[in-house]
């Protein structure tokens, strides 16, 4: 069953509604189910046939990503020509009135995600061939990696909440497998379990939200839910706050928002390509994607508009607090991990400010430069065999390609004109300012200041990472060498993308991206910037440049790392950051150990003495009853009756057998007498 839903597409700045006709995408959209299916199927190919193939399964994985990238770009171009909204679905099962569907959504939002996953995935998979060369679980790694991307594609292609959960959990389980790839080390296992459990806790929120919505609307389909929102469904208005809040909790888990952010830095235990894909295109973008998909729920004045305040505060906390932690990390991957958290905070803030386009635009640009930064960091790690920046330094001379691409990625992340980050960050700042004037109030104003401060911090920690890694004297062992071409080419490709991705949405000049992701039904009241805001752009750029300047001052090449650190070592703040605000300690000591210690003991006690007591009591009672029943009723009652019957029958037979004399004439007498009796009886009684 396929159906087309070409309906009004509401895209508005504060209530103004433009009706734009959407196309159905034609054959390209009808066959878009291949996008999640090709990687899913090839995943099994890698798993079962991988070892026998010349490149050990990598070629299948790489092909699946190439396919998604090409298909994604083709859809992207088609969508840029004319906005597409297409929903395909096949029935899997019918349970009563409920129809279980597997579908594929092809609209502006999912097309953008296909493209990002495909393009970034292709680059990362290519790179991973070089990075993972010689790994003992090379084939298994690529099977998991393909599953990871496929899970994300299932998630973004889902036209209903149920399929979204399937993709959501596929991503979760693949991330668990990938983070724990080097499972020989206990720490990596712990990190994998931590990521999985943290996500699971947040998933409870998602499940509750999905249940609330599905029960209220009576359908899992996004189209139905968004129709209900557009039609101001009364029942949904009643539960909108809780539905919105619980869905956001789910999003907080996957997108690693404070206080669920703790799993993401530990997820660095996985191989670097995993971190790269996880932070750029898959997994952490899922939460932002969900917020984008359910955007009208939060934006419609009648619905969960109060949750937006929570979203913007959570986002601002995440972007600021985690950005500061990035300043004190020695592990280069952890610096980037905290930077991702901070940037996810920006995206969340944008969503909270009601800026659909800005949030997704930052997701889009961030995907390219964060993938680039991780791959470049991986290239460095590959060369020096250490994650720690205290073992690096001076690599500019040894690894020019890595160095230059890392610089491009860092500048893009810091938001330096005219690279990608500048445009998306500026868009977010403008959105927050707009929100401050339109209902966001004082909270949005404070968040705006926090976001500008965040830009400064971003530039500061990236400057630190660049100086400690590429400048000064080399402090590691051996002679570092530039990585092979299979690793540097993806870096160069992503560097180009990081440089130009921002041009897809330049307020007032070219706003293609706004239309691309806006191509879907029911997007209400997107607060996006109509024209460039020079004051905010200038402020953001100044903050970034100031961050770079301060970073240069603190960690310039001619200073010792340790000395620079001491400069930065502010008494209370530094240990606070070093210990990551004691959040992990709180989780471990406060929650895990409390659960493991007193609570577990209390439960054990109650189990032993209360539940076991009840169970044992019931058992003993049943035994006692059984004895009464057996001894009293069965043995004495029923058996007695049975035995007495048998004895009586035996005795009667003993007595009666003497009537059987063997004399035929006696029998004949009896027969005759009986006949006479019968005849006489009949005569009397008839």
């Amino acid at each position: 069953m396929t159906y087309l839903a070409t309906s009004l597409f509401l895209y508005a700045e504060e209530g103004a509604e433009h009706a734009v006709e959407l196309g159905n995408g034609g054959v390209l959209a009808e066959w878009a189910w291949l996008i999640p299916m090709v990687p899913l199927v090839l995943m099994f190919g890698v798993l079962f046939l991988g070892r026998r193939l010349p490149m050990k399964g990598w070629e299948l994985a790489e092909f699946s990503m190439l396919f998604v990238a090409v298909y994604g770009v083709a859809l992207f171009i088609a969508n840029a020509n004319q906005g597409i909204h297409y929903e395909g679905a096949i029935e899997i099962a019918t349970i009563g009135s409920f129809v279980l569907e597997w579908g594929w959504m092809v609209d502006g939002l999912s097309i953008m995600m296909y493209t990002v996953v495909g393009v970034v995935g292709f680059a990362v998979f290519t790179y991973a061939k070089g990075y993972m060369e010689g790994d003992i679980r090379f084939t298994g790694f690529f099977a998991n990696f393909t599953l990871f991307a496929a899970g994300m594609l299932v998630l973004v292609s889902a036209p209903n909440l149920l399929q979204l959960i399937v993709g959501w959990e596929l991503v979760g389980v693949a991330s668990y497998l990938l983070i724990g790839h080097y499972w020989e080390d206990h720490e990596n296992n712990a990190a994998a379990i931590k990521a999985f459990i943290t996500n699971k806790i947040a998933d409870v929120g998602l499940f509750i939200g999905v249940i609330i919505i599905a029960v209220t609307v009576g359908s899992f389909r996004f189209t139905d839910v968004l129709d209900a929102i557009a039609g101001a469904d009364d029942a949904l208005i009643q539960v909108a706050f809780w539905a919105g809040l619980t869905l956001f909790i789910g999003a907080m888990g996957k997108s690693a928002q404070f206080p669920f952010h703790v799993w993401l830095p530990d997820a660095m235990a996985g191989p670097t390509p995993v971190s790269s894909l996880m932070h750029a295109a898959t997994m952490v973008t899922a939460g932002v994607y969900l917020l984008g998909r359910m955007f009208p729920l939060y934006q419609n004045e009648l619905f969960a508009v109060d949750v937006k305040t929570i979203i913007i505060i959570v986002g601002a906390l995440t972007l600021f607090l985690t950005g500061l932690i990035a300043l004190v990390q020695d592990d280069i991957k952890k610096v980037l991990a905290y930077s991702t958290l901070s940037q996810l905070g920006y995206m969340t803030v944008a969503m909270g400010a009601g800026a659909y386009t800005a949030g997704l635009f930052h997701l889009f640009t961030h995907a390219f430069f964060k993938a680039l930064l991780f791959l470049a960091a991986g290239s460095v790690i590959h060369a020096v065999h250490s994650n720690n920046m205290s073992d690096m330094g001076g690599l500019r001379k040894y690894m020019p390609s890595t160095y230059w691409t890392f610089i491009v990625g860092s500048l893009a992340l810091a938001g330096i004109f005219p690279l990608a980050g500048f445009w998306s960050k500026d868009e977010i700042l403008a959105s927050i300012q707009h929100d401050a004037g339109h209902g966001g109030g004082a909270v949005a104003s404070i968040v705006l200041i926090v976001a500008i401060a965040g830009a400064f911090i971003t530039a500061l920690y990236m400057a630190r990472a660049v100086y400690l890694t590429f400048f000064g004297e080399y402090k590691g062992e051996g002679q570092p060498q530039e990585s092979p071409r299979i690793m540097t080419y993806p870096l160069i490709g992503l560097a180009v993308a990081s440089a130009v991705a921002g041009f897809s949405n330049m307020p007032g000049i070219f706003t293609g991206f706004t239309d691309w992701v806006g191509a879907r039904i029911h997007v209400i009241g997107d607060h996006h910037a109509e024209s460039i805001n020079f004051l905010l752009a200038g402020l953001g750029l100044t903050a970034a440049l100031a961050g770079i300047a301060a970073g240069t001052r603190l960690w310039r090449a001619d200073r010792e790392t340790q000395a620079a650190r001491d400069t930065f070592r502010i008494p209370v703040l530094y240990p606070l950051l070093e210990r990551k605000y004691y959040i992990d300690d709180f989780y471990l000591r406060g929650i895990v150990n409390t659960t493991k210690g007193p609570i577990a003991r209390a439960i054990d006690w109650s189990n032993t003495y209360v539940f076991d007591g009840v169970v044992n009591g019931v058992g003993a009672g049943a035994g006692f009853m059984a004895k009464i029943v057996y001894g009293g009723i069965d043995q004495r009652g029923i058996d007695l009756a049975v035995n007495a019957t048998a004895a009586a029958t035996g005795e009667a037979g003993e007595q009666l057998r003497y009537t059987t004399t063997g004399r035929v004439q006696q029998y004949a007498w009896a027969l005759f007498a009986g006949t006479i009796l019968l005849v006489v009886g009949f005569l009397i009684f008839s």
């Binding site: 057998r657 059987t660 004399t661 063997g662 004399r663 035929v664 004439q665 007498w669 005759f672």
Partner: protein, 101 residues
Amino acid sequence: MIVNQFLVVAALLFSIGIYGVLVRRNAVLVLLSVELMLTAVNINLVAFGSYLQDQLLAGQVFALFVIAVAAAEVGIGLAIVVLIFRNRSSANIDELDLLKW
């Protein structure tokens, strides 16, 4: 036509047969008494068949069947009696009490 005299004859014959079966000790005579009873039944059948003017002649036909069955029965009976006499040199049925408890 009056049926009474036939019925009286049949009843007499039947009573004599009963008496013989119950009282006589010789197995051959017991068998003969059984034949008498059957004959009494035949007389009744033929008498009633004639009295009721039955178009199908059911009484007479049944009498023929009874005669056939009686012939077969007496054949088997006499054969058994002959065998018993050969084995025990006696046809006294009081001595044949093997079928007791």
